[in-house]
Amino acid sequence: MKTKALLLSLCPGFLAAAAHADVLAIKVGRAETVSKGVIEHAVIFVEDGKIVTIGEDLPIDRGIPVLDRPDWTVMPGLVNCYSRMGCDSEGGDDMSPNTKASDELWPKADEYAELVKYGVTTLGLYPAGNGIPGQAVAVRTKANTAEEMILQDSVYLKIILRSDSTSKKRITDAFKKADDYNEKVKKAREKFDKEKDKKGAKKEEKPAEEKKALEEPKADEAKKEDAKDGFVPPEAEPKVKPFVDLRNKSLRALVSISSSADYLHWLDALGKESINWDLRCLMNRDSDLFYVVNKKAWDLDVDGIGDQKVRVVMEPILSLVPGTMRQRNLSLEFANAGAKVVFIPRNDTLPDHKLWLTNVGEMVNAGLKRELALRAVTLEPAELMGVEKHVGSLDKGKDANMVFVNGDPFEPTTRIQAVMLDGKFVFGEVNQ
């Protein structure tokens, strides 16, 4: 404790000494860090768009501007990982896994200016279309150029799976093509090895080797090994590459399903492939997904969604027990079964983004743990997109994306007072 206190007291001092003019200290009544629970009387130091320190009642050096709001609560900026906000392209071919949503960014879209007001600071934008429409991109909701918007590209591959042969075949075929590619690599490798043997004692040029290795930093392990001795595997076809990436786990899949049958068909189509995947479950009042929450309840042949420990991207909606008007909280059932819940607004519209936190609050009232609900709109979607190093919680070193509210964020009477994105207030009149 002592050392911690010492450290904490040192930090701001160091900052002041370094004379960074843009350091800002924020004092609020409480902070929902998401990663480390609640900090009362929190002080957060922000510099260069990052959170430098966060702690309880930290001393603030003279000269550092302070924003003191004892009535406010701060939470991480909201992360909606499944949206089309500000995108208006139309889907093309049903099999276009190489399409990237990052190619259609339009930072000047009106929606972003509004979203910021609702506390949404990170979006996961997916490409339009059916079947396998392509790869999503994680973006900031405020930027001047498309490049500036991008937090990280290719955060997940969207796959839509319905109970029909075409959508299942699309997946099995794609993996078959990935198999063909592997075969191709293998042959090329053999050929390369033979040639190498022929050359015999001739030394290889090392610089070239290194260059090649650098050219493919993202390649899978096998490829890396190959790169060491100068072997360059043939380039995969654009439509095949995403599936090669799925297999080597440099890309994850977000599979959209709408019913329990879809879930079983997805597992059937996936077969023995080992990839990282999460689920986007379309929720409605008559959802039958309770059948596949876990294996035990209905004696399924396969693991339930909870048993798989995957993320479930869903709307905060209560569904009904079939044939009755009794409500059931599927998000709670998923969470209890071991799945990780990710909430998105009920619809991908501005009004529903405005009501997002309130709607999630309804799920809390219906039994979902408050911490899980908070996580489900911040860190969990950030982890889904693999951007948890930057956003999703109030932690040292993360982007200073914060939402300031005047009460419990899930209370319908609570209003957003200010929103900070990358250390800059993008909403709210804040006089320091």
Partner: protein, 484 residues
């Protein structure tokens, strides 16, 4: 409904035959064990055990095997979805999932030969499109249907799974034989003629080619492949016809070219039952069909409630379907697929024997769909697809309590909301009924305190219930007598 004078005969025969059968099989097994087979078997078992064996047993039910026998208070054991043993005092392996059917009846799962929508929206590519969670499947299982026939394919209502449920596919070759298109009739006859001729030549060639290797294969020109498949026995020729003349035409065509037609509709079939029987025809009919006789004709015609019974007597295999193939939530209740056993009750009313009635929704449609080797009756080696009912299957009051597909319980009346509230099951374990003056066996020390207050009241209630149940049974039997 039971034909009183004879109902006990098969039963007695079964009971008599049982010990004989069981001892004989036992002896056979012992013989086998003596040789080196035993080791091999043990090895095999080891191999099988790697993916753990799944055991399932239905205990102490009155098992109607669907082959005519009724085994009272018998048990059935299934291994990995296949029936392993049926009998008494079975040794259950460890981890056997059991279903106590004491006081209930066990029937083979029903086969709905013409049905629709029970797999969700799946129409073809069943394994890729089935919705094993849809409500119609639950309703079908609540009816007792465990196999749905649709368009000549047979699919199991294997809930919660999308694998291995297709039993057979595209069994039917659909033909039309109608008085309205005389040309179609002559063309079909021509096709069969050509195909039969080709088949004759082909068989001859097959025989001769062994000696004369250069002999050219007979030309397949003008040969209709569908007709050929029927004549080869690969597919079943299916017609839809109701008119007497049409039925007669089909029977004669079939006799001429030697195939067994399957006829759906068959409203006036009772008028020419003998002819259909000779042709080996099989029919799918609806006992409650109503159609007036053509008054211009002097001969018999129109529908008859005795249709199924008369056809059965003439040796025609009869499968029964309700008038609507799907689950119909509109109009008058009782005519759609979830009233399959009720529909069969009407055939019984028309004189169809009870055994044939059960067969008309189990083994007969299974044969028509080419899956009688797996479903349609409860026999060792077949799939463990069965239903447990709280009374005679054909009685309107009876509910399916449990349905089992591939040795896995897929329906439980108490667990689904459709019929749970109607006549709920009494608690599984009932206390023993005592006559006046008899004393209860002394409870264990620990239990005494608990039972002190409410226990006695509960017991009274239960006793009352039991009494009621008996009364009901009596009433039922009375009703049956009257109807018979």
């Amino acid at each position: 409904m039971i034909q009183k004078p004879t109902w006990w005969k098969p039963l007695v025969a079964a009971v008599l035959a049982l010990p004989v059968l069981s001892t004989s099989t036992f002896a056979f097994q012992e013989g086998g064990d003596a040789s080196g087979d035993k080791k091999e078997e043990a090895k095999k078992d080891d191999k099988d055990k790697k993916p753990e064996d799944r055991w399932f047993a239905v205990l102490n039910g009155d098992i109607h095997t669907g082959t005519g026998e009724v085994l009272r208070g018998a048990s059935l054991l299934a291994k990995n979805g296949k029936i392993e043993k049926i009998g008494y005092d079975l040794d259950l392996p460890k981890d056997t999932k059991t279903l106590d059917a004491k006081g209930y009846r066990v029937y083979p799962g029903l086969v709905a030969i013409s049905s629709q929508g029970l797999m969700g929206n799946a129409a073809s590519d069943f394994e890729d499109t089935i919705d094993p969670f849809n409500s119609r499947m639950v309703l079908a299982l609540a009816t007792g249907i465990t196999t749905t026939g649709t368009g000549g394919s047979a699919v199991k209502l294997k809930r919660f799974s999308v694998n291995d449920m297709v039993l057979s596919e595209k069994q039917f070759a659909i033909f039309s034989w109608s008085n309205r298109t005389p040309r179609g009739k002559s063309e079909l006859r021509e096709k069969f003629k050509n195909s039969a001729e080709y088949l004759r030549q082909y068989r001859e060639w097959e025989r001769k080619v062994r000696d004369q290797k250069d002999l050219p294969e007979p030309s397949k020109r003008n040969v209709d492949n569908t007709c050929l498949a029927v004549l080869k026995g690969e597919q079943t020729a299916k017609f839809t016809a109701n008119d007497r003349d049409e039925l007669l035409g089909i029977a004669r065509l079939a006799q001429e070219y030697g195939f067994r037609p399957l006829i759906e509709g068959a409203q006036e079939a009772w008028t020419i039952a003998d002819e259909l029987g000779r042709a080996g025809a099989r029919v799918i009919l609806t006992p409650r069909d109503r159609n007036e006789k053509d008054e211009q004709q002097a001969r018999e015609g129109g529908t008859s409630i005795e249709n199924a019974a008369i056809l059965h007597r003439a040796g025609v295999q009869v499968a029964i379907v309700p008038s609507t193939e799907g689950v119909d939530l509109g109009g008058i209740a009782g005519r759609d697929i979830i009233h399959l056993p009720v529909e069969v009750g009407f055939a019984v009313r028309g004189g169809l024997p009870e055994k044939a009635a059960l067969e008309s929704i189990t083994i007969v449609p299974a044969r028509m769909l080419g899956c009688a080797n797996r479903v349609g009756s409860l026999e060792v080696g077949k799939d463990c697809d069965l239903i447990v009912t709280d009374g005679d299957l054909l009685h309107y009051q009876t509910f399916v309590q449990w349905a089992v597909v591939d040795g896995k319980q897929v329906y439980d009346k108490e667990k689904e909301f459709y019929y749970a509230q109607i006549r709920p099951r009494p608690a599984a374990e009932q206390p023993k009924k005592l006559d006046k003056g008899e004393s209860e066996p002394k409870p264990k020390e620990g239990d005494e305190a608990k039972k002190d207050g409410a226990g006695s009241d509960e017991k009274k209630d239960d006793a009352k219930k039991e009494g009621d149940g008996e009364k009901k049974d009596d009433e039922k039997k009375d009703g049956e007598k009257k109807e018979g």
